[in-house]
């Protein structure tokens, strides 16, 4: 069963385009998706997923399961960075350990989207409120990361940082704003302007799969460029980048079982735990912990953890889900 899921995932257009991007870097082709086209696709994906999640959230409402799931997501967004920090601190200085911990405590929206698409191709349903969990898990790790630096770094090293700019960076960075904004717009429009939401559908639904494939072509290129810098990363971090996702996913599965989440939501919850941020967190760390080396946290999250999850992780987690959670 596992190998069928892996193959089905591996031979779907989005993952194949991701592979084409990786390949083009290995073959040193001059293929590039010039800036700012990747930004167009990443904004589009956030906007579309937010709108769709909002639409479904408006239909399902906020019941007990929703609140429990979101609470569990927030708990994971505290647990993962703290345990990761303790582990990473054995090998890295406090700045790099904290920045890496923040990346792994946060999430990767594209991994989440790819998992949604994978569920779609298996015709396994999932709930719109998972997008709310995604949105809420992005920010806390940024704050935890900086708190860890504050609590463990030698005094006098951190000029001019204040809570205002930190909270601003955590909750008002562009990817959080677009995701949360679109989610709320989805909720409001679904309630008051259903005709408007229907007219959005060709843009946000029908194009989604193609746009994701195109964007993953670029992500393959970027991940491939990062892989070239692997030497600088070191064996310990490589192992962490490849082993922590299944471990975090397993914890996520445990939580899903406790919460009695259905199959689709359980997979998405696992993917939230297993994925690492290469968008909001690096952008925030570059600013708030400039002492950390970006090539460590970007290379591990984008060059290793992301491809692992996209190619192997998602079908692997799904196999576990299918074994332990009965289909609806």
């Amino acid at each position: 069963m596992d190998s069928t899921l892996v193959l089905q995932n591996l031979l779907s257009p989005p993952v194949l385009f991701f592979g084409l991007g990786l390949l083009s870097v290995m073959l040193r082709s001059d293929l590039e998706i010039p800036s700012p086209l990747p930004k167009l696709f990443s904004l589009y994906l956030l906007l579309a997923i937010g709108l769709k999640g909002g639409l479904e959230l408006q239909h399902s409402g906020l019941d007990r399961l929703v609140l429990l799931t979101i609470g569990a997501a927030l708990a994971m967004a505290l647990l993962v960075p703290i345990t990761s920090f303790l582990l990473l601190r054995t090998r890295f200085d406090t700045y790099n350990a904290a920045a890496l911990a923040a990346a792994y405590g946060s999430i990767s929206a594209v991994t989440f989207i790819t998992a949604e698409t994978f569920l779609g191709s298996l015709a396994v349903p999932f709930d719109g409120f998972m997008v709310a969990a995604l949105a809420l898990m992005e920010s806390p790790a940024i704050i935890i990361g900086l708190l860890l630096v504050r609590l463990t770094a030698p005094r006098g090293d951190n000029p001019e940082l204040n809570w205002g700019s930190l909270l601003h960076e955590a909750f008002l960075n562009s990817s959080v704003l677009v995701l949360v904004g679109s989610l709320l717009i989805g909720v409001l429009s679904a309630a008051y302007s259903p005709a408007g939401m229907a007219k959005m559908s060709p843009f946000t639904d029908q194009l989604f799969y193609g746009a994701l494939s195109f964007f993953l072509l670029d992500m393959g290129i970027v991940a491939g460029q990062r892989l070239r810098e692997l030497r600088a990363t070191g064996g310990f971090l490589i192992a962490f980048a490849l082993l922590s996702p299944p471990v975090h996913a397993a914890v996520g599965l445990l939580v899903s079982l406790l919460l009695h989440l259905p199959q689709g939501d359980a997979l998405l919850f696992m993917v939230l735990c297993a994925s690492a941020s290469y968008i909001a967190v690096p952008a925030a760390m570059r600013m708030t912990v400039p002492q950390a080396n970006p090539s460590l946290y970007i290379t591990s999250s984008l060059g290793l953890t992301f491809p692992f999850n996209i190619v192997v992780g998602i079908p692997l987690y799904m196999a576990a889900v299918q074994r332990l959670i009965p289909a609806a």
Partner: protein, 93 residues
């Protein structure tokens, strides 16, 4: 007159421009989406989609008298966040 060339990460651009204005720079010119190599390794456009951004190149033409204040405002930023700054001579056309 003097010409200053400052190259910093796009993430610090807003802060740098504010510092220049406060230090009395009569104006500045900004080129974004700049790449390069320095002590901090190679900077490419690959991560621009993520908000990490590439570099920005900021050019300031100012009177020699204004240089001191600008240097004092800019140097701490370069020291803390990285980036480089150079001065040369220039005249009004």
């Amino acid at each position: 007159m003097n010409r200053l060339d400052l190259i910093v990460s796009e993430r610090e651009l807003e802060r740098l421009c504010a510092a220049l204005t406060n230090a009395g720079a009569p104006g500045y010119t900004v080129l974004r989406h700049v790449t390069g190599r320095g002590h901090g390794g190679t900077v490419s456009e690959g991560m621009e989609f993520s908000g990490v951004g590439a570099n920005a190149h900021v050019i300031v033409f100012c009177e020699a008298a204004a240089l001191g204040a600008i240097r004092d405002a800019v140097k701490p930023l370069l020291a803390y966040y990285g980036g480089v700054g150079f001065v040369s001579d220039a005249q009004l056309l």
